[in-house]
Subunit: 291 residues, 2 copies
């Protein structure tokens, strides 16, 4: 048996369509409804630019307004905080995303910058992290990549409760992916093991992939391949040994076309969720008060 | 080989002595230094009263002022919030502890009450939970029971880095013990598995205790035993099958006298930590500003 491929491209398209539909529905009752995403880029990392362009394109496809705020790598903590405050106070902004890592020449406390964001759509503020640790799943903005992983498993298996009671092994404990993914799976009732650089005998935890396992690859590696004409082309691949893993897994995500497009789709979904909550929730209350 | 007993009584005594010493040291430079703990009890649960009395006694032994604010079970959310605000604003209060569970006749949102606390010494606010999930260990108030468990392992094995790289299995995912314990062990570099009521094949994760494992029992069960004279006496025991487990474990905590006294010791330690940070940190800054 060879693993079934989980298409992040297709599943993210479904998410995008649903979100686009949400915007249309919102406009039926609130014709001026808009959802706006502010993207902050500090410096000029080319990989960040690629990711940001994908986000802007997807936002536009779905009907979300996005604006890129490009700031110089010479920015100071104070200046960057001022920028965040400005966006926090802008009533037209529903979601603020600071592209990480910051490309700064000055020392800037990334966590402090993230925590300053009022309309978090990346799910990375301490507030959202605390909600996740305490298992408060409603009104919580889930971090985009873990949320995308969960959604891939649910859609691929056709079972929204697939992870409940199952053993989920998370490799890596980063603040952005591993640590919140573990919590998200835990509160969806999985038994969760987190392995990382300090883990001993890692093969005992992930069995180098148990037969029938669902494999979600969040890795992204870039290798420049020299072409016949002397130019180079970038080859993208994940962290999993795809060819070997697909011989034992039941489902597996490819890279590219797996987790990547899901992260973007979840970001846009979070933005529209915030916009509806903020604009229609508010409007609705306003109506109630004036009646 | 029979497991070595981990004495929470003895290890908590060490913690208490160290904390008592910290107070004395603080008074060498700040003769008026005090540490004050406000304990809020809503209603009249007898088990809560037992725990609170233990906290008050320990505080007094160590040299921490404590005051019990006993509130009627008929209190409303609003009234309770007002009480928390009052304590938040009281400059003499270094730590606020709301004894859980609340014994209320009215519906009260426990999480909202906890999050209102400014000087959290139980480590349960969303702010502290978020810090823990993101692995921000400095300036974070660790939840008392998980912190006590970690300390028991470190002291019993004589190795502050004992859990690093080891496999820690946490049974239970409560907000107060299981979920934060998993994070605390994770960020002390353990490979962590969290099992809970929805876990399937739990024996595969904890092997019904692997030979040589360190066993920390956070359970507390009370059984009334009828005496010859017709009165009843309460027998306390943990969640672990102690007699069987000690045949395979390397270290094991008893109940009572294991985790229980550690929880109280860590609470008092957190209170003194907050008092030093708040009173001496503040004083120190004040001095700097006035020079």
């Amino acid at each position: 048996m060879v693993a079934q491929l989980i298409s992040g491209n297709e599943i993210s398209k479904e998410v995008n369509e649903r979100v686009s539909q949400q915007i249309k529905s919102a406009r039926e009752t609130h014709p001026n409804f808009e959802a706006a995403l502010a993207i902050v880029q500090v410096g000029d990392r080319s990989d960040s630019t690629v990711y940001i362009n994908a986000k802007i394109k997807r936002a536009s496809d779905v009907g979300v307004n996005s604006k890129l705020h490009k700031l110089p790598s010479t920015i100071t903590q104070e200046e960057l905080e001022k920028k965040i405050d400005e966006l926090n106070d802008d009533d037209e902004v529903d979601g603020i995303l600071v592209q990480l890592p910051l490309d700064c020449v000055n020392p800037v406390d990334t966590d402090a910058i993230i925590d300053r964001i009022k309309h978090d759509v990346d799910g990375l503020t301490r507030e959202n992290a605390g909600r996740l640790l305490r298992g408060e799943l409603s009104n919580t903005i889930f971090p985009c990549t873990p949320y995308g992983c969960l959604h891939l498993v649910q859609r691929a298996t056709g079972d929204p409760h697939f992870v409940a009671g199952k053993h989920v092994v998370v490799l890596g404990r980063s603040k952005i992916v591993g640590a919140p993914a573990a919590q998200l799976f835990l509160w969806h009732h999985a038994t969760v093991t987190v392995c990382h650089s300090k883990t001993q005998k890692i093969e005992e935890h992930c069995d180098w992939i148990k037969p029938g396992a669902v494999v979600i690859d969040c890795g992204i590696n870039v290798e420049p391949i020299e072409q016949a004409d002397g130019t180079t082309k970038n080859k993208l691949y994940g962290d999993v040994d795809f060819e070997a893993a697909k011989q034992v897994a039941s489902f597996i995500t490819p890279v590219p076309g797996g987790v990547g497009p899901m992260t973007v789709a979840m970001l846009i979904q979070n933005t529209v969720y915030q916009a509806i909550r903020r604009r229609i929730g508010h409007h609705h209350k306003h109506n109630q008060n004036s009646n």
